[in-house]
């Protein structure tokens, strides 16, 4: 019976309801409600400083909302004790804005970090898995290098490999192509799209780059002043007559 009831409910891997978050006087999120259907990719667009990164950090429990609920696979994560939250985090991959690679570890060790802690893999098996992950993002050559010795785009790739290490059901990507040249940015977008199709991962991608919308997104939401201005398919975004959306799109077109 219970199963049936769950099936009837639409199958959203991530659902937030009326999320609010403020830092002191500054309100960052002001009632954000979103739902990401399983296996789909939602792009959250918005200018810098509109609370996009905060939204992602709330989704993986790195920060707590002041109000509102976050459901991941049907579980309300704001109320979970730490050990259960950690179980949930193992099913999620997070790519940080600047990749956040551990700079005291080599590229190889960075990717091995989650595997060492949450799987029983050791020695050759572990090394094979790390090699496979790095090969998937085209970084096999740099295995022994330190993060300080590789470029920004390469760091993002290694960050992606690390986020994929535990075969996550959900990926959260914070500005995956910010600060990269247009060609590398497109390559990263294409890589994300391929990975999503291969593994049918549910993703939330935060960006201010319109190019990603056409490559990566199933759905798009636009944040302004802590609230969702529009949520829909990329086509709906392009056709929107909301003044803020139109202004944002025009600015981005001019930037190109």
């Amino acid at each position: 019976m219970i199963m049936e009831r769950q099936d009837n409910k639409d199958d959203a891997a991530i659902r937030t309801q009326d999320l609010r978050k403020a830092f002191g006087e500054q309100v960052v999120l002001n009632g954000v409600s979103l739902a990401v259907p399983r296996g789909q990719t939602l792009i959250v667009l918005g200018r810098s400083g509109t609370g996009k990164s905060v939204l992602l950090k709330l989704l993986i429990g790195l920060q707590k909302p002041d109000d509102g609920t976050i459901e991941i696979n049907g579980a309300e994560i704001t109320k979970l004790p730490l050990n259960e939250l950690n179980e949930m985090r193992k099913k999620m991959g997070f790519l940080f804005q600047n990749a956040a690679l551990y700079d005291s570890l080599t590229v190889e060790e960075n990717v091995a970090f989650p595997l060492r802690r949450h799987t029983k893999m050791k020695g050759g098996e572990l090394q094979d898995r790390v090699r496979e992950l790095l090969a998937r993002v085209g970084m096999e050559e740099a295995m022994k290098k330190m993060p300080a010795d590789i470029s920004g785009g390469m760091k993002k790739r290694v960050g992606l490999a690390r986020a994929l290490a535990l075969d996550p059901e959900i990926m959260l990507l914070d500005e995956p192509n910010a600060g990269l040249d247009p060609i590398t940015a497109t390559e990263i977008d294409e890589l994300i799209r391929e990975l999503q199709q291969e593994r049918s991962i549910t993703s939330v991608v935060v960006t201010h780059d319109m190019r990603s919308v056409d490559t990566v997104a199933d759905r798009v939401a636009m944040l302004n002043k802590g609230s969702i201005v529009i949520e829909g398919t990329p086509e709906e975004l392009h056709q929107s007559d909301d003044p803020f959306v139109m202004k944002f799109m025009q600015e981005k077109r001019e930037e190109k």
Binding site: L82, N86, R89, F94, F96, A100
Partner: protein
């Protein structure tokens, strides 16, 4: 053009307000430290244990500090020998030189010099390392990988400090006593064996253990303050600089304050 009426003089902070803010910040700091300590203890008592990282830290904190601590211990030995010799000669008590050197190094100079040198080297190191990990989101990344950053980063560093400061204190003690003998024998030839046997005539384990316990507490303070300042870093690169400076200043200060309390306590327990 700036309209005249928008320029208002900055309010002058009254001294009593400044004092209140300072008090408030101090209480806040201690409150946060308490919460941090509870988290660290909870993380330390529950598995999994981060053996690999602990070993790395033992090497980083212990083995790599060895030359510095040995040098500092030796220097103190030489200074003590030269100064004490001068004073003892005035009182005609030159034969007490070995025992004075050994007692003062083992009981006080060894642990405190080791702790202060380690505050500088390790306090700054931990503060800067954790601080930069914090501002570059590496600590968030650890947490997002379902690993407790307190267990992985903080417990390992504090434990390494608690193990290594007493061991390094023993090294500083040995180097201090040897250098003390060397400085003395250059002025007046004395066999090392005689110097040692005279020096340790009245010294027992009762003298060594409390001072090693003291070193353990110093290690705990250095690790705790360094990690706490590092983990609460904010404000980019500038914040990292502030974290490492404050880690050194505060850990040195607390080491000295703890010394005062511990000396009194040890005198009460081992009269």
């Amino acid at each position: 053009m700036i309209a005249k009426e928008t320029i208002t003089p900055a309010p002058i902070a009254r001294p009593e307000w400044r004092l209140l803010t300072l008090l408030n910040n101090t209480f806040e700091w201690f409150g946060e430290l308490g919460v941090f300590l509870v988290r660290v203890i909870r993380a330390a008592l529950t598995p999994p244990y981060e053996g690999r990282e602990l070993l790395r830290q033992l090497d980083e904190i212990g083995a790599k500090s060895l030359p510095l601590v040995a040098l500092a211990g030796g220097a103190i030995g030489v200074v003590l020998s030269l100064q004490t010799r001068d004073s003892l000669v005035r009182f005609g008590a030159k034969s007490y030189l070995p025992i004075v050197i050994v007692i003062s190094i083992i009981k006080e100079s060894g642990p405190i010099i080791t702790a202060l040198v380690m505050s500088g080297r390790i306090g700054a190191g931990i503060g800067a390392e954790l601080g930069s990990m914090k501002v570059t989101e590496q600590i968030d990344a650890i947490e997002a990988s379902a690993v407790n950053p307190h267990r992985f980063l903080v417990v390992t560093r504090i434990l390494a400090c608690m193990l290594m400061v007493p061991l390094l204190t023993l090294v500083a003690d040995c180097c201090g006593i040897l250098a003390g003998w060397l400085a003395n024998t250059l002025v007046e030839k004395t066999p090392l064996q005689l110097f040692i046997s005279k020096g340790f005539e009245t010294i027992g384990f009762d003298d060594l253990l409390p001072s090693l316990f003291k070193a353990l507490v110093f290690g705990f303070i250095i690790g705790l303050v360094g990690c706490f300042q590092g983990m609460r870093t904010s404000g980019g690169t500038e914040g990292v600089g502030r974290a490492s400076t404050s880690a050194v200043v505060l850990s040195s200060l607390f080491v000295i304050l703890a010394d005062v309390v511990l000396v009194r306590l040890i005198l009460m327990l081992y009269p």
